[in-house]
Subunit: 239 residues, 6 copies
């Protein structure tokens, strides 16, 4: 039987903490922690939308992901110093944005924009899934703020959304991989799931050998279980 | 019953053409066409590997995807003129690279590098899947060249790989979406499959509403069927 | 007597092929080949002009030249990856733009813009002259399209234009140099000529020793002969 | 008499908190708070020095300052997205680096480098002075780590260092300005002081009218008092 | 007793030359020389202000500092070639702009902008202080031009401004350091002073050991003396 | 008969001044003036060559051209601020480099590099031809320096080189165009000529209508006359 270093069950999340309103700046914010992974999520609500949305009567939600240089074990050069954003950063920013847009009714948002900044303060695997999970909380708080301030009449949020990583490590499918398991995984999958249990994104990648249909199904089962747990934690943080 | 504009069956590919050795430059090349989508794939084989692989005894395979400015209906600014590569370009380049590495045994490649350039000359949906499918053919030709020139003793290729898009349009799952169907799709999925029928990548995205487990399964069935057809076309092009 | 590797006469062009409408995208396009040099020329016609031309009643014609990374014998890094456009690319883009503007009556074009994209798919010397020659064909097709679509009442094109390289190799002046001759040339000249036989650009450079007035005259004779031949091929392609 | 909004005395610091080892990543780190200003300071200790120091037997200490996009009241574009670092960021990074180097004996550091990352999570005036004050603590912890791990035999730190802002607001000199006072200040000064009470940097700027010698002296008195208080807080945090 | 290489007294300036209207381009210009340091200062007066000042009724003054690649003993790469401006350049440009704004009444300037370009042709220490001193002269000439051309009714200049470096070399405070003294200085200070003898900027930096209050006072005395001398030279150049 | 504003003959140069050793920095330098056009040319001689020349036993000569922001009638943004070098700058830098390399025997230069910086202080037409003419003088002085310092045994300079602009203005060919004539020219040509009267570069461009063979010949006659005059002035400056 496979035993995980931290003695967790295969379908168990790491200790997850969501601290809402950790920042005073931002219309909504939270500090989200999946084990040692720690992400500061801040929502900026602004009236007005990008040019290509003007006159549409609809709003826009977007996200920017970044990592502090010493979030990881060894220091990485800042992307501002390099003068360009890497492919991985772009990819994750786009994923977070799409995931949140899937649960927002843009016409109810009106011509307003919400930017979610997800800054990884410390990274130990699962930074993109923690970001999505925390960004949802920051988004919900920003919407709450906008309603309290009479900018929005009704909430444009139509469902909750969270995300988790799953993977096959040493032949065994397991939930919520820290860095140490992530690098050893043959298959790595990030799954974004709504509160109702439907899929927003499924991104599975064979890092070692290709994976078959049965393995895919086992991984999806684990992810649905993990996201159901996260949904409860989001609700608790917002209540 | 849903009828497609081009009268194709729901599980049918567009006319696919693979013209091997379309270019004289490059150790391997092909022009791949999925309907009106037309991608020039060129493999550059060079002795030596990037610094972080030196001394490992292993090779490296990577890819760069790009689109000509007027590949699409209206002209896009060149990324060289903008001075930076967009998120979408980065994301697709990384996907192509990962997909090909999944079927190459890096230790058999020795300390050699293969770069796959996938330049979209004309775009009508499915440019990333056409790129992967064509890049495999260019890669195989470059390996053939290296064996003929005694740089490689045996082929490091352990399986074939191809890719196809599937999506749910107006509630109906269908295979290989051209641009016109792609923009209308609620769910859009790109699937990368080996010749043996196992998965290398599964990337499903809810563009409209989230999708459920049954829909996911129908899409995977279609994709496996499409990739099996592409595998045959790749074999024909290489024989 | 000097014999050329491909047994051509000193005043003879390489086999030249112009395939009009090679692309479906673009208001005009052609694939032009000078021997192994192969350039895809696409014209994008858009209503409106750059800000500094607005209100002038006049149009604008500009060009962008680029080379695929593996157009040449060894792979070059993409300019989009480098994050900047090199001096040579800039210089050739500007030359193509000026050459085409010389045969367009900007007031008859009205406040419309035409961008010519010249993408070198394969390079074997003479890429800038092939680009100008092909860009003219793409431009003419775009104008034809604009007249058919009642955007233009009359053609703003006042003459045809083509270009050819000439050079002194091993002391002998010769026409249309492939890469192998180009690198050995002492003097290298690119000449842009209208259908009426007048000069638009004359760019002669001493790569080895300086050249005298007689040599200059011999080179100009060759260039005028070559461009007269290209003019015929352009007409045939457009008829 | 001038009363400050938060009822502080003119020579009183805002509530200052220094939380050492707030991060697990980094050889030293602290979260430093001056009122609502909150900066995460992390020290990365690496063996080896930049090229221009190699073979000198000496080490190097440098710093990078940055602000999260929503540290402030309204969101700023990320410098990584802009593709370049602004003048203010450069200026502050250089100031922090110089300040810390003033208290390190580079020959005792040996050929080792310490990078101090100061990331402003929330900004309410005084971010550069909080950064220097916190960076010293992170530096001291990193040196402690290096001694515990036998990389350094003796501490290269020769004094402590802290910094504070002072300014003339409505004609009155005062200590440690929050944003609201800072924008109203006629003269603004940042002073970096060692634990022994000598100056490392004195940067005074007339934002409104120029200032005279007496005013300069009053500001320096306040700064020396404030830095003496900060020195005590640094000692407490490190003990 | 300390003897300076050029036998100057400790409180003596290097030979200073200000040649007004050295350039025909520019609404005001001068070539300023502090010993071998030689800076071309040019003022560009334009009607209109940056967007964030529009409608304020106020003007704007800003500066850009740069150095020719071979201003110094060995050649430096151009910042235009590097593709970015270094921290030092940014810092000095900002300092020059602030210094000049301190002596301009923005409401009397009306919605007009003045840009001061300070290009260092030859550098031998003190380039920033020579730039400020010369930029003031160029500014005054540009204001004179604007009044002669009836763009301004009255002068917005409320005082003169000049700047000088002071430092402690081998334990001795001295005025106006050339490069050779600057690199040996323990403490280095740049002081910007108005014609009335009040401070606009005081920037003191301990390069070696920290400095105490007495040393600071001695340096300020020297700087006030030096700037009084420069004020006379500015007046002479403008009369 | 055409009369020029400055009453010059059609084949007459503007007043040309060459001040050798205008700068102390640089192994060679001069300030060259063609009328109001004023360029500072500085040669930097360094031992060693770029990587691609190492081991060849040959040297390298290259050039960088730039313009101060207010060299012209209205201010241009700095290329360092834009973050990239424009096409025109690139083109002229390359032209200057090629022109000088044509008169240098690279094997006699040994593995040494000379960089020519041509910084336009004031621009009134003909900046590229003044740059080439002045750069030759700076180069010759740098070679003189290297011989005096025993770095070179014999001079690698095999001929002198100068350049001049010619053009057809209002139907009349004329020499050395200032800005005011340049913008009105139908045909504009820059010609680079050796001291022996042979061509290094001929760059003719039809700005208005195309030009014929007779016009080309008249322009070349003028250019040869003008460069012969410049050659005399270069000799005088160097003696």
């Amino acid at each position: 039987m496979t035993t995980r270093k931290d003695l967790r069950g295969l379908d168990e999340l790491r200790p997850v903490t969501i601290t809402p309103r950790w920042q005073e700046a931002g219309e909504g914010s939270c500090l989200v922690e999946f084990g040692k992974t720690r992400v500061l999520c801040t929502a900026s609500f602004t009236e007005g939308v990008p040019r290509w949305k003007q006159g549409s009567g609809e709003g826009w939600v977007t996200a920017e992901y970044a990592m502090l240089p010493r979030a990881t074990d060894s220091r990485n050069q800042r992307e501002s110093v390099k003068g360009k954003i890497g492919g991985r950063t772009h990819e994750i920013s786009r994923l977070i944005g799409r995931s949140l847009r899937a649960v927002v009714d843009m016409s109810k948002l009106g011509e307003n924009a919400i930017v979610l900044d997800c800054d990884v303060l410390q990274a130990d695997g699962g930074t993109r899934t923690a970001s999505i999970t925390g960004a949802y909380v920051a988004l919900a708080l920003a919407v709450e703020w906008a309603m309290k301030n009479k900018i929005l009449k009704e909430s444009p949020i139509i469902d909750t959304v969270s995300a988790i990583s799953v993977g096959i490590v040493d032949g065994t499918p397991m939930l919520d991989l820290p860095y140490e398991e992530d690098v050893r995984a043959d298959t790595d999958m990030n799954v974004v799931v709504t509160g109702s249990g439907t899929f927003v994104e499924v991104q599975g990648t064979a890092e070692g050998g290709a994976f078959n249909r049965d393995e895919l199904n086992e991984l999806l089962d684990l992810a649905l279980k993990g996201c159901a747990d996260l949904t409860e934690l989001q609700k608790a943080a917002l209540s």
